[in-house]
Structures are given as C-alpha cells and as structure tokens.
Symmetry: none
Subunit: 207 residues, 4 copies
Amino acid sequence: MRTEQARSVSRRQKIMDSALEVFARRGYRDTAMDEIAAAAETSKGGVYFHFPSKQAIFLALLDRMANLLQGRAEAAMAAEPDPVAKFDAALLVMVRTFAGHRPLARLFLVEALGAGPDFNQRMLEIHADFAGLIERHLDEVVALGVIPPLDTHVAGKAWFGALNEVVTTWVLAEEPTDLEQHYPALRMFLLRSVGINEPSGLWRVPG
Amino acid sequence: MRTEQARSVSRRQKIMDSALEVFARRGYRDTAMDEIAAAAETSKGGVYFHFPSKQAIFLALLDRMANLLQGRAEAAMAAEPDPVAKFDAALLVMVRTFAGHRPLARLFLVEALGAGPDFNQRMLEIHADFAGLIERHLDEVVALGVIPPLDTHVAGKAWFGALNEVVTTWVLAEEPTDLEQHYPALRMFLLRSVGINEPSGLWRVPG
Amino acid sequence: MRTEQARSVSRRQKIMDSALEVFARRGYRDTAMDEIAAAAETSKGGVYFHFPSKQAIFLALLDRMANLLQGRAEAAMAAEPDPVAKFDAALLVMVRTFAGHRPLARLFLVEALGAGPDFNQRMLEIHADFAGLIERHLDEVVALGVIPPLDTHVAGKAWFGALNEVVTTWVLAEEPTDLEQHYPALRMFLLRSVGINEPSGLWRVPG
Amino acid sequence: MRTEQARSVSRRQKIMDSALEVFARRGYRDTAMDEIAAAAETSKGGVYFHFPSKQAIFLALLDRMANLLQGRAEAAMAAEPDPVAKFDAALLVMVRTFAGHRPLARLFLVEALGAGPDFNQRMLEIHADFAGLIERHLDEVVALGVIPPLDTHVAGKAWFGALNEVVTTWVLAEEPTDLEQHYPALRMFLLRSVGINEPSGLWRVPG
DNA sequence: GATGAATGAGCATTCATTCAT
DNA sequence: AATGAATGAATGCTCATTCAT
C-alpha cells in the first residue's frame, strides 16, 4: 500500500517534471499530450489517469512555482529582523529561485499569461498574491516610519513588474546570461523607488 | 484608380480592426480566421488576399501598437525641455495611450506572450526598444548630473516592467477601472527609483 | 495481446484496401482522407493513427503491388528451367496479376506516375526494378548464346514499356475487356524483339 | 485589327508557353493559375480571358504536342518510299521531337496521367491515335508481305509503349542524358519485334 | 494502473473561378 | 483586354479526450 501510493506520487511527479520541460520548450499551446506522455515515459492514458486534463497539469505546475516562490520569499523575510533587509532578502531569494528554475520561470512569466483566457484570472490572482505580499510589507514599513507614505498598492505591482521584466527578458533570451548579476542594480532601483536611499556600502548582499 | 487603392487600404484597416477586436476577446490561439473574416464582413479568402497568414495580422497589430506608443512617447518627450519633465510626459502619454486602447494593450502585453515561440523574439525586440528608449534618456540625465549614476540598462527594463505590470493587471481585470488614476503613484515610484526625490507638489500633471 | 495486434493489423489492411478502392475510382489527388476513412468504416483520426499521411498510404499500396508482381514474376521464372520459358512465365504471370487486380494496376501504372513530383523518384525506382529484372535475365540469355547480343538496358525498358501500354489502355478503358487475350500477341512481339523467332514450338538462335 | 488579332494570338501563345514551363516544373495539380499568370507576365483575369479554365490550357498543350508529333511522324513517313524506312523515320522523328521538347514530353507522358479522371479518356484517344498510326502502317507492311502476319493492334500499342517507357525514364531522370543515344537499340528492338531481322549495317540513321 | 486505438470537431491555408471596374 | 479583389468550398492534418481491454 505504502509502496503503491509512493509509486503513484512519483509517477505524478515525473509527469509534472516532464510536462514542465516540454511546456517550457514548446509553449503551452504547442505541447501535445503525446509529447508529455513520451517525455514521462508513459502513455497518454497514463497521463490522464493522474491528471484530468492538460490544463490541470499546467495549473499544478503554476501552483508549484507560486508556492516555491512565496514560501522561500516569506521564509527569507521572516529570517531578517530589519525591515529593509526583509525586502532585500525577498528580492534576492526570488532572483535566485528564478535563476535556478529557468523553465519554471518561463512557464510562470511567459506561457501562463498567454495560455488563453482560461488562465487569465488565475494569473491575476497569482500576480495579486505577490504584489500583495510586497504591499503588506510596505504598509508595515510605512507604519514604522522607515519610509515616507506612498501608494503601496501601486508600488507593490510596480515592484513585482520590475522584477518580472528583468526575469522575462532573461528567460526569452536565446543565450541565457547570469540573471543574478542584475540583482544589485535591481535592488537599488527598487529600494530607491520606495524612498530608501542608503549610503553606499551600508547594505551587503546577504547569504 | 485612386478609388480602388483607397478601398483596398480601408479593407486592410477593417480587417486589422476586426482582428484586434476578436484577438482581444478570444485570445490569439482561440481566434479562427473565420471569425476575423466574419467580423470584417468579408470571406476567409478575402482576408488572405490582404494578409498572408494569421501571424501576419497579429504582427501588423503589434507593430501598430508599438509605433503608436513610441511615436507618442517620443513626441511628448521632445516637447518638454526639462529632463525630468520628459520622463513625466512619456509616462503619462503611455498610460493614456494604453488607457485609450485597451484591446490593443491586451494584445501587446498578454496575447503576444502566448502566441507561440515565433513571437517571443519579436516581443523581446519590442520590449528592448522601449527599455532602450528609457535607458538612453536616463543616460542623458545622468550625464547632465541631474541624477546619480546607476545601471541604466536594468533601470530601463525595470521602468518598463513596472508600467507593464500596472497596465497588465488593469487589462486582465473583469471590470476595468480608470487606469490613469494610478499615474501619480506610478510616477512617484519611477522617479524615486532613479533618484529623483522631488518635494511634493512641485510637479503637476501636464496637459 | 495477440488479439489486439491482430485487430490492429487487420485495421491497417482494411484501410489499405479501402484506400486502394477509392484511389482507383477517384484518382489520388481527388481522394479525400474523409473518403478513405468512410470507406474503411472508421474516422479520419483512425486512419491517421495507422498512417502518417495520405502519401504514406499510397506508397504502401505501391509497395504492395510492386512486391506482389516481383515476387510472382521471380517465382515463376525460378520454376522454369528453359531460358525462353522463363520469359514466357514471367510475362504470363504479370499479365494475369494485373488482370486480377485492376484497381491496383491502375494505381501502379496511372495514378502513381501522375501523383506529383514527390512520387516520381519512387516510380523511377520501381520501373528500374522491373526493367532491371528483365535486363539481368536478358544478359544471362545472351551469355548463354540463346539470343544475339543486344542493348539489354534499353530492351529491358522497352519490354516493360510494351507491357505497360497494353495494360494501361486496358485499365483506362471504360468497359474492361479480357486482358489475357492479348497475351499471345504480346508474347510473340516481345520474344521476337529480342531475337527469338520461333517456328512452331522449336527454338533456335537466329542468325 | 490585324495588329490586335496578332497581339491576342501572341498573348495566347505566351500563356501557353508559360503554362507549359510551370506545369513541367511543378506538376499539373500543384500549379496555381497565379503562377501561370505571373510567368506569362499578366494577371489571373488576363489568363481567364484567353482560356476558360486550367484544364483548357492543359488540353491545348496536349494537343499542341500531339499535333507536333503526329505531323512530324507522318511527314517523315511520307518522305520515305521504303516500308521499313518509314518506320525508321517515324521513330527517329519521335525520339528527336521528345528530345527537343523535354517539358512538353513530361506533360505528355507523366503529368497527363495525374491530371485526373477527366483527362484519362483524352489520353486514351491520344495513345490510340499513335498506336493506330503504327497499326495501320503495320497492316500495310503485312499486306505487302514484308513481314509475317501478326496482331497489329497489340503490336501498335506495344511499339508505342516501348518508346514511351524509354522517354519517360529519360524525362523523370534528375540529370537528363542524351535521349537520342538510345535510338539505335530501340530501333533494333522494335524492328525485330515485328519480324524484321535485317543484316546489321544495312540500315543507316537517316540525316 | 496503464495502454493502444479510436474519435471527431476544429483549423489554417489553398485555389479555381467570378466579376465590377 | 485586363486587373485586382473577392469568394467559398475543399482538404490534409492535429489533438484533447474517451474507453475497452
């Protein structure tokens, strides 16, 4: 029993991993279930046993990425006492997570947006989650008087959008460069944008 | 014949307008050529007489939007002598242009990403054009000593990404709000992000 | 499963048989995959499961006919010890094979040649195979001194062409006659053409 | 008037010449009227002014070739008094005519078969004309006692078929060789096939 | 659990033909 | 005579999904 359940779980994982790879390489719409099945070394029927539809696989991958990012970001923020350091940590963790999962990043930032009207609302939610995470933290920091008051709702979106664009161009580039090299500039851009002008050298890259 | 040429041009326009409407409503992939033809009140063959493929129609629409945005932005910047006011003018013009062309904005920011790998490179170019426009202007402003030195390449992308995200969430919302209401906050966010901390109230919304 | 394999094979056969009938009746180009599917009592997708393309079905039929003819011709020749009798046997077997498979004959001699540039090279090969079979045998017979030396390469083609023409006109005729009735005349024509002038039943080397 | 008529005739000719070139290069079915129009440096409507349909152009070309061949063959035969020399002259003229008009030969022997059932009856007629020409002459020669009695109907077809096959393989070859080099062997094959065994050297290739 | 086979709606594209100008 | 524009039926092929075994 235990064994069979474990086998089923690992099968599911293998299908998701294979689907991720194919989606990232061919695009969501251009990926056929046959290709996913072949990549997962199973049959089409086998895939359908574990997932009810192609959409469902895609959504599962989206959730995996969203959870990965949110979890890591929140953990990193929790680990830092200083308000500004929290931003810093979250940004770095996100850059590094994307950098380490290029196909997933592609799915998340490129394919998911264009996968059709069915996914738009889900993407809106996911974007809102991230922007909201930033927004709430900005609210705290404003409350603490660390930064001047600002429209944290827009700032949250803009913050997320700035990161998005940098990662997206990296994801779409034919020959990927090192994403992390852009972190310092992006960090300064984002901190300044919310009114944090730190004396140079005061902030260090954590970890 | 002057008349025939004019008719041909207007037919082309009508097809593009109809295609825009359908693409925005149904998504690029879910749009059938039949729907475009029907919306343009012509036949499928008629559409193919004016455009060689579905892709070509989409690319033509993309270029229309890109040219519209770039033209307006550059004109607005040229009309302002003050360096900071140039940014301001460009940002406002872009927000207003998107606000006034929601379907085109949707195509530009959402559908283009899901239209398949063929479009990715084209999108990359378009994004690079905008980011480059900002980057070049930032370089000038840095050279003038108006703002401190910074990585203008990343800043250009981030600037564009921040705008993108605000517009994208507006585009995807079920019930569109007034996009322009976010302009002041976005403006402050972006100016600060490149080191311009103006005393509040000094800058007014032009025009 | 033995059963499933058998079913799959028989399905394939049924599709080929149906396709043969439709191709022969309507011509290769005018045959729609839908018609083949309908004739095979399956769906278009079903046909595509067994064959990757319309071309592939056609080529499979071509190979079937080529193998049938070559196999029978070679078997008939092997069964006869006398050199001249070998020719005789091969010719008779080919006439009879065509006579018994009129649709296949039509495909082979009419449709295949005109099915488009893609098939030309394949047809060239098939024609060369047959002409070569005759050519090689003529070479042997020449070597044995049974017939005088001659350009066996051209003779092989001409032999095959003569047979072709007789069968082709039979195939294209509205009301088919009995093809085999032409065998004796064709036989005499071909034997004489390579220098075999037989007075009643007696074989001698001319010249 | 004279001028306009002449212009119209030459236009017609130009269309036929262009169509021949395109048909031979792309095949009948794969040739679009657009291509013919472009090759003839006119518009689609212009082509339709001179010919009512694509079929009509093809048939006109077929007739052109048939008339060319028949005319030349009959003239050559008329010019020779000797019965056997008549055959010889006809064969040589046909080989030379095909050799000098490869695209037309392709149309005549290859494309016409794939042009669809509509053309089959016409082709049958054309083949019958040629075979009949030979058959009638064979009848005469038999009547003169030059050759022994034989089934001249089948012999006519076989004669034409042998020539066909040699020309067809030449037409389909990627790199065309010199068709005429096969004439002597073909000549001997055909003469022998009807019972003419001439001492070698007696017959020379005419002019 | 898994698979091969089948389904059938859907779609981009082609193209001979027509016709107003 | 000629043209550009338009038509619309036709077609090969794809693919998510279903299901008997």
